[in-house]
Amino acid sequence: MSDQLKAFARPDGRWGLRNHVLILPLHSALSATARKIADASIGAVGVSHDWSGEVDGDFARITKTISGFAANPNNFATIFLTIGTPHELAIIEVAKKIGLARAEVLNVAEYGSMAKIADIGLAMANSLVKEANLQARVSAPWSAIILGQECGGSDALSGITANPALGVASDRLVELGAASVLGETTEILGAEHLLAARAITPEIGAQIIETVARYERSINYEGIDMRGAQPSRGNIEGGLTTLEEKSLGAAKKAGSAQFSGVLEYADQVPNSGLYFMDTPGHDTEQLTGFGAGGINIIVFTTGRGTPTGSAIVPTIKVATNSTMANAIPDLIDLNAGTIADGLKTLAQVGGELFDLILEVANGKTTKAEKGLHHEFSLSRMYNTVIR
């Protein structure tokens, strides 16, 4: 046990850094009802999405994402809104299997109308929030922290200030026994050889290389022109020239620890060590995949400033430059731009970030949490154009 970390113990041995009551629609048509319940409640959170139960090439990926998100250890309880199809009910079962202790199900077909489940859902949400508020944090081991690393709106200072500062904090957490996860396959392309060299076994190194190669093949196979997406226009304006350059800077987030494994999108993250997860560069799709993998706290480095947050996973924003941090302070939790200004060293800012991660893990609210930024996106691999 660490005497510094206090968290919510889950019945299956996992740890929550938050105690959310999540309203989760299993069908896009119930998204509005989920939002309505969350907005009216005394502290429940809700998400919206656009999946209507299609059984297509993305079915497995989408159901895995939704069930994992429902089961995130930061959830005290999840209220599922469903139309009752076998596929939707299976998602609930998978969430329970992952470890979701409190699953409540509101089937619109049983209650007769959306208005009815909105009423019942609100009463249920409020009662669960009250119950959650009674649960106390208890001393938790460092392995209770499952950290996700993300960067968005990168600039040329990302790889010099915020990303290596996150690397310092991540290394320290991994050494103490926490888990830390690097994602965004798009953004390690060109740096994968450096990461693979740090794998604990040659097999894991080969997996890192193969994950990137698989991505590269899929892009080349589809004959897609990456212009305009990676690096994005914002990246280019910020001074980043090539995808490899962005990747070399992005990889600094993972510090210098050894890689203990490679995870598929939304795989459950083991509870200690540094991992790589195959996620898309799209900020909210990656954030959602992290939440689905059981990641319970995220550090998000940004050069341009972005409000993005998750309904259930606290997201700490670290600015890469002081100009942006000063211009939009209501988005930024920590300014690593002080490194480029010569005011602080990398070790100092890395230490500040470590302390902040611990404070947020212990309950301090982030700017994204205060602003109620609850973005949620389902990652799709296949097109939606053809029936």
Binding site: S31, V108, R233, H282, T284
Partner: protein, 270 residues
């Protein structure tokens, strides 16, 4: 029967008078909803605007342009983030040539969330003040039919509506009503008549009143209250409902405030 309409200038005459707060990227949805709530405008969550590539850049841009130019829209405020693939200012420039009642804000240049929300509220109010909407008569109704339930035979109702001078666009290329709605929105329909798949609940599109007709399937019978029309609705009843909705009656989905949007994509996101 006469039909009420709202004169929306170059956008055409609509059957609803919605101001649209359009987040050009998923990251702007929260800012957009705060502005929309304050000024009583319509906004919605979507998953687009960033990390898309290839043909989808043009496709999604055209899609958003069609949203902003829809006849049911009085004015549009685009809220961008600044670093996304689809830049709000470029979209706004494209729209401005057609409709002056368009404006845009960029979070990364407007002092963050609080700054963007307060500038957004002023900008939205200014648009409403500068471009007041006059009530008028809708000369010709453009009705969209979502036929994701292709067992449903609509020949009779199509014939009856055509006879009274209603323009009709049928979308039947997707099993997913949401994708059909998007096709119908791009066609500029005023109202949608939706025949959802027997295993799908009723749904709607944010700017366009959507009338849901039950198939009589077990699911649809179980949630009969969420449908505007029952499985045995005759053409006459359907037509009456359409006229009532055109003249202001809220559909069930409008009353709930439902409406996610989904635009078709050709390629994976990155």
């Amino acid at each position: 029967m006469s039909m009420k309409g709202f004169d929306h200038g170059n956008r055409g005459i609509g059957v609803r008078n919605h101001q649209l707060i359009l987040p050009s990227v998923v990251c702007s949805t929260r800012v957009s909803s705060r502005i929309a709530r304050e000024v009583g405008a319509v906004t919605f969550a979507h998953q687009h605007g960033c990390g898309f590539i290839g043909n989808d850049v043009g496709r999604i841009t055209d899609y958003f342009a069609a949203l902003a130019n829809h006849p049911n829209v009085s004015s549009t405020l685009i809220v961008g983030l600044g670093c996304e693939t689809l830049q709000g200012n470029e979209l706004a420039d494209k729209l401005l040539t057609k409709n002056k009642s368009t404006n845009y804000l960029v979070t990364q240049e407007s002092g963050g969330v609080a700054g963007t929300v307060s500038s957004g509220i002023s900008a939205a109010r200014e648009l409403s003040a500068n471009f007041p909407t006059a009530q008028t008569v809708l000369p010709r109704l453009h009705l969209g039919i979502d036929l994701s339930n292709d067992d449903f035979k609509v020949d009779e109702i199509v014939a009856a509506l055509t006879e009274v001078g209603v323009d009709i666009t049928v979308a039947a290329s997707h099993k997913n009503s949401g994708l059909n709605f998007s096709d119908l929105m791009e066609a500029g329909v005023h109202v949608i008549l939706s025949f959802p798949d027997p295993n799908q609940p009723p749904s709607g599109f944010p700017l366009i009143p959507t009338i849901n007709v039950s198939s009589g399937s077990p699911l649809h019978l179980a949630i009969a209250n969420d449908f505007d029309l029952g499985p045995k609705a005759e053409s006459e009843e359907i037509m009456e409902k359409i006229y009532n909705v055109v003249n202001g009656e809220l559909t069930k989905v409008e009353a709930i405030g439902a409406g996610e949007i989904i635009a078709a994509r050709e390629v994976r996101s990155v």
